[in-house]
Each structure stands twice: as structure tokens, then as C-alpha cells.
């Protein structure tokens, strides 16, 4: 592995300053994607800025109608959090099925979102729940955050501070995992709010997205059958050894139907 400078700031300001000074810096959060990528020589940062020492990135706070989760919260902590389980049980369950147990013990919410792997689980939840991404500089709406294949709205050096998830009436997540990587071939979260239903889809496309066609159908009738006749456009969907775009479209519909069923029978 390429040598690098290892830096461990204790504040966000310090982190940002270190980032500005370095040639090719990368923030290190849980490291569960970054470190394998570095081992494969796919990533070779000059400076690794470890965010684990920044206290304000940690913690889970439940407030009226929303729950705020620090960016450095590990997947296992989200899965095990009594606050998350009570406010948005579907989010806790989603976190409890990311990767495998060892990955969940290190991987973090903020790291996953900043990386924006097209097959990561969290983006489906961020979109379906209409979460707000709080960074060290601003607040970004879910819709604006995920921009393209491994691309987010984060500026160079910008750090995610916390995620604020509005509490839905109910929500459910269904995932069809790739048998090898266990990433989502397709993952769908359906969330019902007072003002309507939101559907977040991951795995299917180059970047997680809201499925407006499915939302429309579910806003008309919140039942699995309502999705029966919805067309899932899949021209831009991912295709790989395991699943074609057409098959992914089928999985989007089926996972969505099952998530809707789970709303009523969690």
C-alpha cells in the first residue's frame, strides 16, 4: 500500500484545515470501503484524515418528529440504538443488514453516504425518509445530495456532520443482496408520511434515486397491488454479471411491493 500521512484532528475546523493543506487528502471514517480500495491500489491518498477523534460527529438524538444521527455513528450502533429502533425501526433494520457484522462494527453512516456507492443501503433510506444532510458548512436536502455514480453534493473538503431523519408514520426496507458482495442488487425503502409516500431506490441505477412513478401509484393507493402495473424505466440501470437492467427493474417493483406489505405487517 502507498505510504501516506496519517492525521487525526479533534475538531471539524482542524479537519478542514488539514484537508486544505494536503495534496490528495481523503477523509477516513469507518474505512470499510476505503481501506479495501487502498489495498487494491484503487485509491492512493497522500493524506488520510481520520475523523474518529471528532466528538461532535458522534451521538444519536431523538427530537420531535425527527432523529439526528452523528456521521461517525457505526452501522451496528444505529442498528442497536433504542432511540432509532423506536423512532424509525426500518432504519435500524436496514443498518443491521449492511455488509456483515464485522463491517457494521466499523463502517459509519457518514462514510457510507459520502462514498455514495450505487449499491449501498443508506442512500435508499436518506431519500425515502427525506433526510437532511448536515455538513460542516450547510444543510443539504436528500434529493440534492446524491448526484451521480460515486458523486455527491459535497464540496472538496466538506465533511458530513450528521443526518437528520424525519420520523415517518411507518417505513420499510427490502433488499435483494448480491450473493457475493452482499451489497444491494436492489434495495427499496418505502416511507409513509402525513403528506404522502416516498420511495428511495438503491442498487438499481448509477446512483440512488426516488422512484416517483412508484410514489404516485402508492399515493393513490397504499397497497402492493397498486404497483402491479407501474412501469419501471430501466434504460439507465446498472448491468453486471449478476443482474441485467431489466431484471433490476423487476426487482425494484418486487422489493417495493414487499416493502409496502411490510408497512402493514412489519
Amino acid at each position: 500500500m502507498q505510504p501516506f500521512n496519517y492525521l487525526k484532528p479533534s475538531t471539524l475546523t482542524e479537519a478542514a484545515a488539514l484537508h486544505r493543506q494536503a495534496d490528495e487528502p481523503v477523509y477516513l471514517s469507518g474505512g470499510q470501503t476505503l481501506i479495501p480500495a487502498m489495498q487494491q491500489r484503487l485509491s492512493a491518498p497522500s493524506d488520510l484524515i481520520d475523523l474518529s477523534g471528532i466528538a461532535e460527529l458522534s451521538g444519536i438524538q431523538a427530537a420531535d418528529g425527527a432523529i439526528r444521527i452523528g456521521a461517525f455513528t457505526r452501522h451496528a450502533q444505529v442498528a442497536e440504538s433504542a432511540a432509532v429502533r423506536s423512532a424509525i425501526p426500518a432504519l435500524a433494520r436496514l443498518a443491521g443488514r449492511i455488509g456483515d457484522a464485522q463491517v457494521r462494527n466499523l463502517g459509519t453512516l457518514g462514510g457510507s453516504l459520502a462514498n455514495n456507492d450505487p449499491a449501498a443501503d443508506y442512500p435508499a433510506a436518506v431519500l425515502a425518509l427525506g433526510a437532511t444532510v448536515h455538513t460542516d458548512q450547510r444543510a443539504i436536502a436528500a434529493e440534492d445530495f446524491f448526484q451521480a455514480f460515486f458523486e455527491t453534493a459535497l464540496d472538496h473538503g466538506e465533511v458530513i456532520r450528521a443526518l437528520e431523519f424525519p420520523r415517518p408514520r411507518r417505513a420499510a426496507y427490502r433488499k435483494f443482496p448480491n450473493p457475493a458482495s452482499r451489497y444491494a442488487v436492489v434495495g427499496v425503502m418505502v416511507a409513509e408520511f402525513d403528506d404522502g409516500v416516498r420511495v428511495g431506490v438503491t442498487g438499481a441505477g448509477p446512483c440512488a434515486f426516488r422512484a416517483h412513478g412508484l410514489e404516485e401509484a402508492l399515493n393513490a393507493s397504499l397497497s402492493p397491488d397498486a404497483l402491479d402495473r407501474v412501469e419501471i424505466p430501466h434504460e439507465d440501470f446498472n448491468r453486471d454479471l449478476y443482474a441485467s437492467a431489466e431484471y433490476r427493474a423487476q426487482l425494484v417493483k418486487v422489493m417495493a411491493m414487499r416493502a409496502v406489505r411490510d408497512l402493514f405487517d412489519p
Partner: protein
């Protein structure tokens, strides 16, 4: 002996203590003072001319000790890596064995092929150096797809149609006639998917050379260290055999992939002498995917003819087998002698003809992996039989019964060379049907359908030929070495026993089972028997572990050696008891004559302290034996898979798997059961999850665990296993071998179940959820 440790007892493994405490010593756990590290230069192209290799930048890195290429090994006169089995084409000509230098010299022929190595003070330095080597490649069009290989330009000089051999077995005219006259012919055309073995411990080597003594020592991940030594000295000519010691310490799984003599271990040993430092090399998993041998990869068209009564009349098989870019150590034997000879299965098929074209492609070499040829054969036979039954509207179990070789038919001469020794196939089928609750299947299917799912059941009545094999027969068929095994039983002066075996244990538990065998033979406590293996410096000779042969051949050698020990001891005991040997009986560790008794421990002491001793007898109580099998052994059994398919996603759940196997006599049922489970998991992996895929440019598309899917715990159910037993009648233990059965029987059982569930004739392995979903769409579209 005591019931708890003798033959047939489920003795807990003595090797486990070191593994559960982290005290195992695998090759990468070992170090030598002053060791340097090797990193291999590997081809990024499937086919290219190698131009200048410029190592100057690498050598400028502090700590880089050397950059070597194929030019250097070639200049030093290193020989090629040989293929040890000469197959002849049907026209009588020898197979074409393309030259296979350990490091490519002028041309590279698959992605990942090593053409050089960088040696550095540390691994990081060696890696950095390897990145700085500038190599000129002139790309050539690769032949990466098996289907088109015969029509493509030859990848090696002087090779017509990329054909290594065009082999046949059986009576073609009689088979053609039988099929022409058949009342029904079932034909299938399918691929047997390419697998990548993936023993969990990557290959590794720790190589050293002592310039004073001239001795080389290679510690490496090998299933057969003596064969490695033989090849390195006789063919590669690194050093003379008596100056070469190969040690295979704890080895983390092999499944065949560590039988072979590979480039990296070879080059590391050579380089250790060049640099004058011990050299360590451990593969990264990404390297393993590219450079370990791959397996299977056949395209086959097969036809089974049946008469009006549902009796098989003929089987015709045409197979194209991918051999990869070079012939690996046993590559040519796998799709021929280990495949064509098994096509009779458990059945009295009177006419069989098989033709196999072995072709070169610009992919990693293909060789033996758990089952090696026999899974491919079982897949052909059992997919055809199941399909024929469905086409004829017969119960697949009934059709098999109608065609089984019957117990009174043994020894049974098949039309494809083998003579089966013993078996009772009906018994295995009946027991498996019972365990699988075969009669209850329609009700389970109906229940699944009510839940919106499809359910299917599939059988596979496999046979295998294990315990390779009579040496003379094998050599007459092209084998380059004998296939006996050697063993030594050394009774120490105090009566404890050290056993040396040429078989190698890398998960099989020989340290336990072989001790059971010898303690049983000699009537000494299990704990007083130690088993030594895996070191050419300690064990006289051996041919290693593969083909489920360790116990049948290696164990038999130990029985022979034990018998010699007992015979010599009898003479000593007779002398001590002042009688003649024919008046002395040996039982339970003691020699008896009348009411006198001498324990084997007392006899051993007398043998080493010969105060009162027969005049014409040498002191000592240690005997060696070589056992050359008289025939293969023929384990067989019935596997039954039951699957449930999610009709909306195509996801397949293996809900039940039954295996009833006949391995002859069982030494340790716990270990046998473990072997069966592991084999089934790999067979299920082939059927549902695993596939090594090259694109047309010859790039491996799934060279990591991110996309090559090994079965995980939650992919599998607990398997239901049982045994029937017809002891082997030609080895002293009556054993047949159990290591490969699961991988041989499972794929056909699973695919038969899946096709049953989906209502389709055939579906490609691995049956991914998308493949199953598409099949369901097709069925729906056709209104079947």
C-alpha cells in the same frame, strides 16, 4: 483396542488443538532470518509478445535486491513445467504439449501469467519495485472464449485448431447404431461452468538455499511435496533430488488446487539461490484468482438412447474441454481418463462412446479440482437420465432402478474401460428416497404453490473412481508417475509408534485417522501413535493427496507396513517365549503362546536392546511398505436436492439436501461426514453460485470475493447424510474414499431440482436468480 479410538470410532481430531488456539503453522506464518520478499510481474494481457523488460527504475529503489525475468530463468537452463499425463488422440498421435516455462520468456498467454519477479528487503519495497518495472508488450488477439477456440488462430506455434488432443473412448459404431435404433433419444447440450477452487489459504512459499551444503529447502502450500521435489529436480532441474527438501507444513485447504507444480514456488526457490537469501512469497487473493488453476469448463452435447421398456441402449457424448493456456500438471487426464471412463454411471448402458477435444485458450490453466472429471461425468449422466424420465413420463427414481447395475453383476465391466468392484446402488437410492420423504413431495409442492412459490426435487445417482490407481495401468494410459503410496511404521524402543506417510493432510485429518488405523493394527494406545507427513526430509516417498486416495492407498500402505512389523515381532516374541513363530498368535497388542504373553512394547524393547534375540534377525522394529492398488475404488451414492423458487425474483432456496453414500468401510464417521458436507457445499456452489467468467479480451470478470460467490453459511441448509456400505474387496481396509463425493453428486441433483421446479428442460449453471426468473418468464410466455 479400546472402542473409543479404533477403526469405526468418531475420534476427535488431534490436529484441532493447534488450529483452535491459533497455533497452526501455515507457510506464511513461517519466517527465516534474513528473508527477502518476492512479488511477481504478471501479464495484464491475455496474449502478448513480451518485449524489453526494463527493471532499472525498480533496481534504483532502496531495498530492491533483484529483478528477474523469464530470460534469466531460461538462461540458467530451468526446464519447463511438465504435464504429467500423456494423452493420445484417437489417431494415435501424442497430445500437443505447449512449452510452459516457469516464467514466460517471449510471450504471455493469460492475464496474470508471471513473466518475472522483483525481490526486495520488504514486501512493500518489492511491491514498489514491481510497479516500477517497465515492460513492452505487443498485444495479440486472444482466444478467450471456449466456443470459438477451434476456429481461431493458434495461440501456440504449430498448433492446429488450438487442439491439444482429440481423444475418444468406447465403441463408436455400436453406439451410433444403438442410438439409431433407440425408441427414444434424450439429448442435451450444456456447459459445465468454470470454477475457481479458492482454498482459503492462498498459495505461499518460503524458499532457501544453503550455498555451503548446496541444499535447497522449499516450504510451500502443497498437497504432494514429494511430487513437487521430483518435478523440481527431474524436469525443472533446479537442483538434484537429494539436495532438495520440500516441506508442506499446515496447509489451509487444497481441493486439488495445491497438487500442481506452479511457476511462483518454482521461481522463488531458484531466486533464493540467485540472491543468496531466503525468499518469501504469499499470494494475495487477487493473484490466486488469476493464477491458481481453474476447473471444469466443458461444453458438451450428450444423447441417451432408451428402448421401449426404458432400458438404456446407448450414450454418446461430445465434449470440448478448456485446458487454459498451458497444460497444468494433470490437466490432460482430467477431461479424459477421469471423465470418459465414468460415463457408465451406476447403469448397465451397453454402448457408450465419448469424444473429448481438449483445447487451449488464453485463460488460466485448468486442472483438477475436487472431483476432477467425475463431477462433469456425473452431471452428463444424471441430467440426461432425469430428463429422459421426465420426457417419458416416468418416475426418475423408477427409471434409474430399471437400469441399475445389480449387486450380483459385480465385478462389472463397463463399456468405458473400468471394472467396478462392489456396490449396491438400489440400497443407496432407497435410503435416500426415504430420508428425503420422496412420497411426501407432492404435498410439499402443493403447499409451496399455495404460498406462490415453485418447488422441485432432483436426484443424482453418482459414481466415482477413487484411490488412483494401479500404477502399471495408469502408466500404460500415459501417466508419468506411479500411483502407489508409501508408508513406514516405526515402533520406537519404548513401544510408542511413529508413522510416516506419503499422503498429505490439509484438512482431511490424517493425523487422527491414520493413527486409528495403525493403533488398531498394532493394538497399541491411540495416543502412542504419531503421524508424520508433508516433509520429504522425514518421509521416504509419497505421491500425495488427491482423488480421494489417501486412506485407500496411503492407509493400505500403513496396513502392509504394520503387518510386516507384526510378522517380525512374532519372530522376536517366539524367541523370547522359546517357541516357534507359527505357535505365536498376535492379538490386541500382544503375542501369545499357550499361557505365555509378550506385549508388542516388550518385543520392541527386545528389538532395540537385543540381549536375548534370534540369531538371524536384524535388530530394530521399523518397516516400510509401498502399496500399489489393484483397481480403483468406486464410491457411489444417491443425492437428492429439494428447492423452492420465488416466482417474482427467481431466488432459489435449497430447502433440503440428502446424501446417502457408499464409501465402503468407515474409519472415522465424524470425519467422513465432515468431508461429505464440505463436498456438497462446493457442489451446490457450482450449481447455484460459482462461475469464473472471462470476457472476450481474456480479462477475468470476477476475480474477487466481491463478485465470485463462495457459498456462505446462510446460503446452505444443514444436509441430511447417511451411509450404506459395500466394502471394497481389493484393499485391506475395505475403504473407498469420501473426499469428493459431495462435489460430484450435488450439481446434478440441484439442477434437476431447479429444472423440476421451473418446469424447464435445462438451465445453465450457476442457476442465478435472474436465470431462474427468465426461465419462469419463458414458461409463462409459452403457456406451459
Amino acid at each position: 483396542m479400546t472402542e473409543a479410538t479404533g477403526i469405526g470410532a468418531a475420534v476427535k481430531r488431534r490436529e484441532d488443538l493447534r488450529f483452535i488456539t491459533g497455533a497452526g503453522t501455515y507457510t506464511d506464518d513461517l519466517n527465516q532470518p534474513g528473508q527477502a520478499y518476492a512479488v511477481f510481474l504478471r501479464s495484464p494481457y491475455a496474449r502478448a509478445k513480451v518485449g524489453a523488460v526494463d527493471g532499472s527504475e525498480a533496481l534504483a529503489v532502496d531495498g530492491v535486491l533483484a529483478v528477474y525475468t523469464g530470460q534469466d530463468t531460461s538462461a540458467d537452463g530451468l526446464g519447463d513445467l511438465p504435464c504429467g499425463w500423456l494423452v493420445k488422440s484417437k489417431d494415435g498421435s501424442d497430445m500437443v504439449s505447449a512449452p510452459h516455462p516457469p516464467l514466460a520468456v517471449t510471450q504471455v498467454n493469460y492475464v496474470g501469467e508471471p513473466y518475472g519477479l522483483v525481490v526486495g528487503e520488504t514486501l512493500a519495497v518489492a511491491r514498489r519495485g514491481a510497479e516500477l518495472v517497465n515492460t513492452e508488450f505487443i498485444e495479440l488477439p486472444p482466444v478467450a472464449v471456449l466456443g470459438g477456440a477451434a476456429r481461431a488462430d493458434p495461440i501456440h506455434e504449430g498448433l492446429a485448431g488450438n487442439l491439444a488432443f482429440d481423444w475418444e473412448l468406447g465403441d463408436q459404431a455400436a453406439t451410433d447404431a444403438a442410438l439409431a435404433g433407440a425408441a427414444h433419444v434424450t439429448a442435451l447440450e450444456f456447459a459445465n461452468n468454470r470454477l475457481i477452487p479458492n482454498a482459503l489459504e492462498p498459495r505461499a512459499a518460503l524458499a532457501q538455499y544453503d550455498a555451503v551444503s548446496g541444499e535447497y529447502v522449499l516450504r510451500t502450500t502443497s498437497q504432494n511435496p514429494h511430487l513437487e521435489r521430483l518435478v523440481l529436480s527431474a524436469f525443472v532441474q533446479i537442483g538434484p533430488e537429494h539436495k532438495l527438501r520440500v516441506i508442506a507444513p499446515d496447509v489451509g485447504g487444497g481441493f486439488g488446487s495445491k497438487i500442481f507444480i506452479y511457476a511462483e514456488e518454482t521461481a522463488a526457490l531458484w531466486a533464493a539461490a540467485k540472491v543468496g537469501r531466503p525468499i518469501k512469497w504469499t499470494a494475495e487473493r487477487s493473484e490466486s484468482f488469476l493464477s491458481d488453476v481453474h476447473a471444469r469448463d466443458h461444453l458438451t452435447r450428450a444423447e441417451l438412447g432408451l428402448d421401449a421398456d426404458g432400458k438404456f441402449v446407448g450414450l454418446r457424448v461430445r465434449t470440448t474441454a478448456n485446458l487454459g493456456a498451458y497444460l497444468s500438471t494433470f490437466a490432460s487426464a482430467v477431461p479424459t481418463f477421469l471423465y470418459g471412463t465414468l460415463l457408465s454411471g451406476q447403469y448397465r448402458t451397453p454402448n457408450i462412446h465419448v469424444q473429448v477435444q481438449g483445447v487451449y485458450t488464453n485463460t488460466a490453466p485448468v486442472d483438477a479440482y475436487r472431483g476432477a472429471g467425475r463431477p462433469e461425468a456425473a452431471y452428463v449422466v444424471e441430467r440426461l437420465v432425469e430428463t429422459a424420465a421426465r420426457e417419458l413420463g416416468l418416475d426418475p427414481a423408477q427409471l434409474r432402478r430399471r437400469n441399475f447395475i445389480q449387486p450380483q453383476d459385480f465385478p462389472y465391466q463397463t463399456p468405458v474401460a473400468l471394472v467396478y468392484d462392489t456396490g449396491n446402488y438400489q440400497a443407496g437410492l432407497d435410503r435416500a428416497l426415504e430420508l428425503a420423504d420422496y412420497p411426501g413431495f407432492p404435498a410439499r409442492r402443493a403447499a409451496s404453490e399455495r404460498a406462490g412459490k415453485r418447488r422441485g426435487i432432483g436426484l443424482s445417482c453418482y459414481i466415482e473412481a477413487c484411490g488412483l490407481a494401479p500404477s502399471q495401468l495408469a502408466i500404460s494410459l500415459g501417466a508419468g508417475v506411479g500411483l502407489y503410496e508409501s508408508g513406514e511404521v516405526r515402533v520406537n524402543p519404548t513401544g510408542s509408534v511413529t508413522v510416516f506417510t506419503g499422503a498429505h493432510s490439509h484438512g482431511q485429518g490424517h493425523e487422527t485417522t491414520f493413527a486409528q488405523v495403525v493403533s488398531d493394527q498394532l493394538g497399541v494406545p491411540f495416543d502412542s501413535v504419531e503421524v508424520v507427513h508433508g516433509d520429504t526430509g522425514r518421509v521416504e516417498f509419497g505421491l500425495g493427496t488427491y482423488g480421494s486416495r489417501s486412506l485407500a492407498v496411503g492407509g493400505s500402505a500403513l496396513v502392509k507396513a504394520s503387518e510386516k512389523v507384526i510378522a517380525k515381532g512374532r519372530r522376536i516374541a517366539a524367541h523370547l517365549m522359546q517357541t516357534t513363530p507359527d505357535n505365536v498368535a498376535f492379538q490386541d497388542g500382544a503375542y501369545r503362546s499357550g499361557n505365555q504373553q509378550k506385549t508388542i512394547q516388550e518385543v520392541a524393547f527386545a528389538a532395540y536392546v537385543p540381549a536375548d534375540y534370534p540369531e538371524d534377525l536384524e535388530p530394530g522394529l521399523s518397516e516400510k511398505a509401498f502399496y500399489d492398488p489393484k483397481n480403483f475404488t468406486y464410491p457411489a451414492g444417491t443425492h437428492i436436492a429439494e428447492v423452492e423458487v420465488d416466482t417474482q425474483t427467481g431466488a432459489i432456496e435449497l430447502v433440503n439436501f440428502v446424501a446417502v453414500d457408499d464409501f465402503g468401510r468407515i474409519i472415522n464417521p465424524m470425519i467422513v461426514d465432515g468431508q461429505v458436507h464440505g463436498g456438497i457445499a462446493q457442489g451446490v456452489g457450482q450449481a447455484l453460485l460459482e462461475h469464473g467468467v472471462y470476457d472476450e479480451q481474456g480479462q477475468l470478470q470476477n476475480g474477487s470475493y466481491m463478485d465470485y460467490c463462495l457459498p456462505r453459511a446462510d446460503d446452505l441448509p444443514s444436509f441430511l447424510t447417511d451411509l450404506t456400505a459395500t466394502p471394497c474387496d481389493h484393499n485391506p481396509l475395505g475403504v473407498k474414499g469420501c473426499g469428493e463425493a459431495g462435489a460430484i453428486g450435488a450439481p446434478a441433483a440441484v439442477v434437476n431440482a431447479v429444472t423440476d421446479a421451473l418446469g424447464v428442460r435445462d438451465i445453465a449453471m450457476p442457476v442465478t436468480s435472474e436465470r431462474a426468473w427468465r426461465a419462469l418468464q419463458g414458461v409463462a410466455g409459452e403457456g406451459v
